[in-house]
Symmetry: C2
DNA sequence: GCATAATGCTTGCATATGCAAGGAATATGC
DNA sequence: GCATATTCCTTGCATATGCAAGCATTATGC
């Protein structure tokens, strides 16, 4: 295990899982959403017109189309998102972020920022934060899923 | 979203998910194991005597104890791991890595190294790989789950 | 020593997810 | 224009996972 590629991949996956586990706990207890629901809302917020097709959401979130269908149903029921059929193509059922959904997302983002702070605070300097940001940008840049 | 903590946390989570999705595909088709099974084998390989209790595995893998129970059952059936009851404490049921499990893990590690190469190759210099490694080490250092 | 608490594991139930099939709408080849 | 293919979404089934309860074993308080 002296391969730096392997070491970095393992550390990347493990630190991400740690952070995700922490987020899951607070998202669930404080905001009543899952981490995946948070990411779904984030994708919508960053999309033009705050909307995306289910297929596009599936690709960006690395889940199947059926998962998106089933994730969206309860979110639609409580008004965080809306359904909107395309005028030209009746197959497309856009998922649209509602104002209630934006509010919920803003609250969750505060928790996200707090946890992100815990994760990096007192471990990295400002300069290192920028280094890390630049390095990771090369991994996520160009993917349509990139939220940053 | 000008908070560098938030940006870095998002990029960390997203790049990890991308890598994990790629690994899942090849692990499943080539080696017949899931990413989580791979990590379970990795934890055993790094443990003293190549064995851990189910509770310890659950903590390190950020899953519930029942998940470990259910993950281990089929792996035991095909001989990748063994069960071993502790002499002093009959509650403890260690999961032990077998030689067949080591072989399977070695093959999967080759795939892992290949995918890790794809992820970082042509994006980062050697110096940057070392920088990244050092930064991430501070995140995972000290956790018993750390595989590196 | 014994009653109670704590620990380690398993199991029933509920939820989450992927795959494959199906239905509806649109695109393509001719 | 029409038959066929493709695309988008949904649904049935199988698997994966967490939580809470239960069981067996060990630790603790007195």
């Amino acid at each position: 295990m002296d391969d730096l590629n392997v070491i970095n991949a393992l550390r990347l996956l493990q630190s991400a899982e740690e952070l995700r586990a922490r987020l899951a706990g607070e998202f669930s207890s404080v905001h009543g959403i899952s981490v995946n629901e948070f990411f779904l809302l984030m994708q919508l917020r960053n999309a033009p017109k705050q909307r995306l097709s289910r297929t596009e959401l599936a690709k960006r979130m690395h889940v199947s189309a059926s998962t998106v269908t089933r994730m969206v149903a309860p979110m639609e029921k409580i008004g965080m998102v809306d359904r909107m059929i395309d005028d030209r193509d009746a197959r497309l059922a856009f998922v649209v972020l509602t104002s209630a959904g934006q509010d919920r997302l803003s609250e969750a983002l505060a928790t996200f920022a707090k946890q992100a702070g815990y994760a990096f605070q007192d471990r990295w300097t400002d300069a290192e934060m920028k280094q890390f940001s630049a390095l990771l940008f090369r991994l996520v840049a160009g993917t349509p899923a990139n939220l940053t």
